[in-house]
């Protein structure tokens, strides 16, 4: 039981810390945030296949300073590339909470918006925005690389005018997100999920 409590405290740390306010250099950092979006490479669903053309010679997103990065603590941009099952969602939430503020989420395709073709599936999360805050969603099944590029541009624009505030919303409305997550997975799901895998190790 004590460990359960510990888990929750650790999780609460995600929102209870104090954010650093940079006064003098804030505009500079804001510009840098826009120009250097590092993607947490976490490909779910079918949208992952749109990433290679984006990264390679055809569209080359590196010219905007975008770089795939396997470590979430350094990441800024979380791409949800397609439908999300509850099992994936758990990982998404954990990884998202590991990323450091400010952080942004870009959802690909119809599935994270309303379930898309899986709208009546028993095992697909229909509205991702209920569980984690999404900054930009791109409709389409599947959105082409151009559309994704457009979405990224939109994120950049929103960072510039300060409306890409998913990370703020997550902190402010944490109770709401937490309630939805717990409703879907049940209380203490982190603990339970971790224990499920212990038997396999």
């Amino acid at each position: 039981m004590s460990e359960m409590k510990e888990m929750r405290n650790e999780n609460d740390g995600v929102i209870s810390y104090e954010l650093q306010e940079f006064k003098l250099f804030e505009p500079l950092f804001k510009w840098a945030r826009k120009k250097s979006l590092w993607i947490v490479a976490f490909c779910t669903g079918c949208g992952g296949i749109e990433m290679p053309p984006l990264a390679t010679a055809r569209y080359d997103f590196e010219r905007f300073g975008i770089m795939p990065n396997p470590a979430p603590r350094m990441g800024d941009l979380f791409l949800i590339t397609g439908y999300v099952t509850p099992k994936t969602l758990k990982r998404i939430i954990i990884t998202y909470e590991m990323m450091q503020d400010p952080k942004y989420i870009l959802a690909h395709g119809s599935c994270p918006i309303n379930g898309g073709v899986y709208w009546d599936s028993y095992n697909v999360v229909k509205q991702l925005d209920k569980y984690i805050p999404i900054d930009v969603a791109i409709a389409g099944c599947m959105p082409r690389a151009e559309a994704v590029m457009d979405g990224i541009m939109e994120i950049m624009r929103k960072i510039e005018d300060g409306t890409a505030d998913g990370w703020k919303r997550y902190r402010e409305n944490y109770e709401y997100y937490r309630k939805n997550q717990d409703e879907l997975f049940g209380e203490g799901w982190r603990e339970k999920d971790a224990r499920r895998w212990l038997a396999w190790i």
Binding site: L28, D60, R63, F64, G65, A71, M74, G75, D101
Partner: protein, 297 residues
């Protein structure tokens, strides 16, 4: 008492080295992109990245050593830089000894390892293991190359090595030292953490290895450290084998030449596994190194 000229030089060189180091990192990415027929990021992209990382509003820590590691790494990189004769700026290099600088260039590794280990992440641990094994593997040929150089010039002092090369021609014009240069260049690839020896970070395998738990300002420190280290190491190469330089521009040209060789090699080779790397280092580079030292005895 305080030598103000030296203080100004130190500050100037530090700023210059950090800036150029970032530009080198940018060149690395840009050149790789061009080889892969991409446009690539702007050349100052690493500076933006570092600024962004520093501008993160949140920061996590796994304990005191986790914070100390990157600070120590960057401090040691700066210390190493101050002992290398940078063109006509001598800084502390009148006292610089080849062995001391070679060791100082290795300390940042220890700092990164310390921080990575204290994060307790298994990927970090794997990265540490790979990093140290790479070091164990490369140290023998590396040492042999340095020994060949010292034996030929008969001095350990970097400033004297530069002076001798200015009068008697570059090191690489000596056949034995050319062999040593080849060895050093292979080792250099591992020192910079580029393919085929980018076993340490191996992004696709172990999520950046030692860096996996780092983010925000810690990562910014590590990036800055990497920039300074890159500048210091390329300058070290230029000083040892390419005759040093009499002004910053000449040094820059030599550094970029060295860097491009590293980039070209890196962009065509895949990655070794760690035991392959060890076996490789203990085979050809070591044999070449032994030939070089025996030629210069």
């Amino acid at each position: 008492m305080i030598d103000w000229k030296l203080v100004l030089e130190v500050i100037g060189i530090l700023i210059y080295a950090t800036f150029m180091g970032f530009i080198f990192m940018g060149i690395e990415r840009k050149a790789m992109a061009r080889i892969q027929r991409r446009v690539g990021p702007p050349i100052y992209q690493p500076i933006i990245d570092t600024l962004k990382l520093l501008g993160k509003k949140e920061s996590v820590s796994h304990g005191f050593i986790y914070d100390f590691g990157p600070v120590f790494a960057m401090g040691a990189s700066i210390a190493a830089l101050l002992f290398i004769p940078i063109a006509n700026f001598q800084l502390f290099s009148s006292n610089a000894d080849l062995i001391v600088v070679a060791y100082l260039l290795e300390i940042p590794m220890l700092g990164i390892m310390l921080g990575a280990m204290s994060s307790g992440n298994p990927y970090s641990a794997l990265g540490v293991q790979r990093g140290l094994l790479t070091m164990v593997a490369m140290q023998l040929p590396y040492g042999l190359a340095l020994i060949a150089l010292i034996q030929h010039w008969g001095t350990f002092k970097l400033s004297e090595i530069v002076a001798l090369q200015q009068t008697q021609g570059w090191s690489i014009l000596v056949p034995a030292l050319f062999v040593a240069m080849i060895v050093f260049d292979i080792v250099f690839q591992a020192m910079l953490g580029l393919e085929p020896f980018d076993i340490v970070s191996a992004p696709a395998e172990i999520s950046m290895g030692p860096m996996v738990e780092y983010g925000g300002k810690h990562a910014a420190l590590l990036f800055t450290q990497h920039a300074i280290q890159l500048f210091a190491e390329t300058a070290f190469f230029a000083v040892l084998f390419l005759g040093g330089a009499s002004n910053l521009l000449e040094l820059l040209i030599k550094q970029i030449a060295v860097l491009f060789i590293a980039i070209f090699v890196a962009s065509i080779y895949p990655r070794f596994t760690i035991d392959q790397a060890a076996k490789f280092f203990w085979k050809w580079p070591t044999i070449l190194g032994i030939i070089a030292v025996l030629l210069t005895v």
